[in-house]
Amino acid sequence: MGTDLFLAGVGGQGTILLVRVLLAAAERAGLPAVASETLGMAQRGGSVSATVRLGEPGARYSPLIARGAAQLLVGLEPGEALRYLDFLSPTGTLLVGTDGVPPAGLNGLQGTYPVAEILAKLREHHVRTHLLPARDLARQAGQVKAQSAVFLGALAGLPDWPLPAETLLGALEELVPAKAREANTMAFGLGRDYRPEG
């Protein structure tokens, strides 16, 4: 049984880097994999979504995943996780960042972006939800941009995760610029070791 992941975020959060690291790690581990990237108008503040299918049977087919069929939903942004929650299997796992990025128009004057409500909605609708304060952890590691590394670490820490953590880390270190390597490695570790309070 393979692992089908649906990923969602906002342009600039590193969703695509995450996809490329997962694919590189799969190649190294000899695990069949396919992926899709919906680039949309990511740079113009739009949604970014992607799918990665690790192992068979998923990797035998198209990279797209049917609604309700993904084992994992990685939401780098809570509103985006909510937007694509229908792709997650009821028995799957939701890994979601707790830092909201308000869409244009919800700028605080013409409406607010209720991150706490969105997170509550996610937990209410889905049993297996892991909240990840990815931005804080990335900041601790020395680079706010290293958020996707935090998510990679968190994935490596999940039960039944099909790729060895060292392989993920190796692929990550190869794909980030040399000066960002240290911060990303640390961010990976923080994501992997993160346990919510209480």
């Binding site: 396919v34 899709s36 740079q43 113009r44 919800l106």
Partner: protein, 611 residues
Amino acid sequence: MARSPAPNERRSGCWMSGITKIRSGNEAIALGAIDAGIGVAAAYPGTPSTEVMESLTSWAGSEIHLQWSANEKVALEVALAAAGTGVRALTAMKQVGLNVALDALMTGAYLGVKGALVLVVADDPGPHSSQTEQDTRFLAKAAGVPVLDPATPQQAYDFTRLAFQVSERFGIPVIVRPTTRLSHGLGPVRRGEPIPGTTPSFTKDGRLVIMPAVATKRHGWLRETLQELSGFLATTDLWERWGTGNLGFVTSGVADLYLREALESLGVNARVLRLGAVHPLPEEPVAAFLAEGGEVYAIEEPDSFLEERLLLLKGQRDLAVKIRGRLSGDLPGTGELSPTILRQVVARAAGQTLSPVREPDTAYPRPPVLCAGCPHRSVFYAFQRAARGKRVVFTGDIGCYTLGVTMPVPAIDTCLCMGGAIGMANGLAPLLTDTKVVAFLGDSTFFHAGIPGLINAVHESYNLTLVILDNDTTAMTGFQPHPGMARKAREKTARRVDIADLCRSLGAEVSQVDPRDFQALWAEARRLLTAKPAGPRVLVAQAPCVQKEPGQVRYQVTEACDGCSLCVREAGCPAITWRNDRAFIDESCTGCHLCAAICPTDAIGVLSHGN
């Protein structure tokens, strides 16, 4: 039930092999072209095809001549000419780009090629980022050009190589048609042995001159060639039949993969005919498949091309089979297909009921907006403000600046196609004599399609304003070069075509402004909207794209802010939000100065290092 041989594993899945690498569909096409020995590639950017040429600029050897052309028609003419010298040529474009190049293609198909010519035309079912979700296969059929329809990156590589072989053997251009989900999909690709390119030579035999009498002969040649090709395609492994059953599916493109997954996950028995060549059809295998009777679904996107071919074949050969697809209402008529939709189609076809799945949550839309600090925002704002209390129509066009429509007050009133802003302005100006007509065109768009419209306006003495938003790049598609820039596909120097000089030489009254100087911009906007009509006027607004050249300062809101909220309400910049009854500027600010310029209380200033 026998499992289908999924395309991803046809290359005997040696995942550990060093030669198999994960590539995107577009990358795979570029590699296929390189290994097929191309000598020339010319393209115009357009999502989802852009990465084909971008990959070529990264990987093609220096002996291959690469060009980002002014538009798709020029690109195709470049490639046709190259193919006329015996060289193998490639051109790449998105589906609406084929609309631009179609004139050259229709004649090019009659004239044929000496070397080889492959057009990569990417369809965009949905659409995700196009003006239409038109189906290239219909245009290809109209032109008499074969179409190969790959489903996976491996097929994208293989079909590109095959397309060059077919083109060379039969002397016709061939279209390879990826769709968005293949172009931007990633999967394993194993390359074959590369072959060397050919040497160009021009023979003065007149074979490239079209004349009416020649056209009749060549039309005959084209028809015969397509018939011959149909027979040839039946002997290749471009089509594949598997499974058994009264229920049948004819598939092409990525939808084949959705179908396979649906059949296997639902445990449904069916016979399937996958077509890698969709025009001309390998007629005999398709007819034989239909002749088995029962119900046959055409699974394809974005439109009912195959379904219509099947209905035609059924009628011609009087076959007892029911054909289903979009026309029959068994597939959705619009929008892209997906694994979810194919599950529903297969379940219904097999008489199964699916358990309900959760509906999507659409609570917080995230529309794309102009980047923080984009110079287009300043231009749009200045003109909107200058237009208050006046009758003004703003025509828009294709590019980042189309996002003017998502500003707090929509900055454009029309958007049709490349160059449509100036073309439509030519239509509105003489009719709406009590209204100012202002057209917005980007720099790349201007070179692509804007010049004839301006020439028309000068010749007709139309009273209109053309604002050229010159950010020195083709931004929306990923910063490709265009003729106004001092760089080319693989060279950091190039001769620039100066936009202001060109417009002046055409006879328009031209002024130039830097949008980062809001006072100057505001003065120009007011002047142009109040000036006495005197033929076409051009304003070239020049400031680099902030993604390429971010500003050097950041702005901040000071204590002087009195909470009037004008900046938040009117500028629509994503860097400005409302916190604690004051405006707040975050670190995504790139220093365009617009908010500082429009603040009525001068409460916005440069953030100095000490703060």
